[in-house]
Amino acid sequence: MKERLISKDAHKILEDYLSRLKTKLKTLPKSDRQEILKEIQSDIFTEIEIEKRERGRSETEILFFILENLGKPEEVSAEILSKRLISFRGNFIRRYTILTIRNFYIAFIGFISSSLAFIIYFFGFLFLAMACFEPFFPKNIGLFNSEKGFGGFGIILKGTFIGIDGYNPRGEEILGFWIIPIGIFLGFMLIFLANVIQIKSKKYFNH
């Protein structure tokens, strides 16, 4: 039915926008989400039809104007989620149960993503530290071999291995000063990745 209302190009642009918005609204209950998307879509169809009839503009032109005015999917979802109250009805026990489940879910996902980010930050800082301290302790820092293969990647600090441990007994360090560019590169990559996880998860829970 939708296909007949607007052209294929316009339809594709609209579908793309709505699917992005749908993803951003995934914390809403499914029925609420569907209602909002259906409503926005219905209003857009109406506007396209009226604008086309009265001003003779092309569908894609009108659509771009509407979507620009709606705001980016992340802006629209942020508004909708931030203005959301507890939208479920029913008696107190039911509402409190749903509230608990939702908050537990948020806490759980938050815990997982924070833990993951923490581990990644840890290795990011470790790799940077490896690069920094390599000139002073070249024998204790780097990639080690062992008779069975991989002997570890990290720092030996007073006999304790910090990093990704491998088979014992550890053999020679094999990277030498190469650890400086490699450590800097890996370190910054991991810190960047951890920042992305933190920012994304904060956006996910921005209500």
């Binding site: 005015n69 629209v76 508004e79």
Partner: protein, 112 residues
């Protein structure tokens, strides 16, 4: 504080009041309300804000809606004012008049 930010904040604050006032006159669907509010929307206030407000007003049970078939396209979500909505709108109106009066007094008279 810059003037456009102040202007945006000011308009955002009375959007709900405007939406309820529009619905008091006539049951309407989103596009009609957005058109009526077109002086408000644009660069500063996105339409997304209005959809968010519909949702909030509905959750607070000030407005209700039904889906109605339309002749030319997909069904339309028609909003109407509830009894609670009418009550709060009356309250808003009297505050609004009082508010305009006192601001006007200050603008004209300053400390006097």
């Amino acid at each position: 504080m810059n003037i456009s930010k102040w202007n945006t904040q000011l308009r955002k604050g009375i959007l709900e009041f405007c939406i309820l006032s529009i619905l008091e006159k006539e049951n309407s669907y989103g596009y009609q309300i957005i058109q009526a509010l077109s002086d408000f929307t644009g660069i500063d206030i996105k339409r997304g804000t209005i959809y968010a407000l519909f949702k909030r007003l509905h959750e607070e049970e000030y407005i209700d809606y039904t889906w109605e078939e339309s002749r030319s396209g997909p069904p339309r979500k028609i909003y109407s004012l509830t009894y609670e909505g009418k009550k709060i709108l009356q309250g808003m109106k009297s505050h609004w008049t009082g508010f305009l009066g006192s601001v006007d007094k200050i603008l004209k008279g300053g400390l006097r």
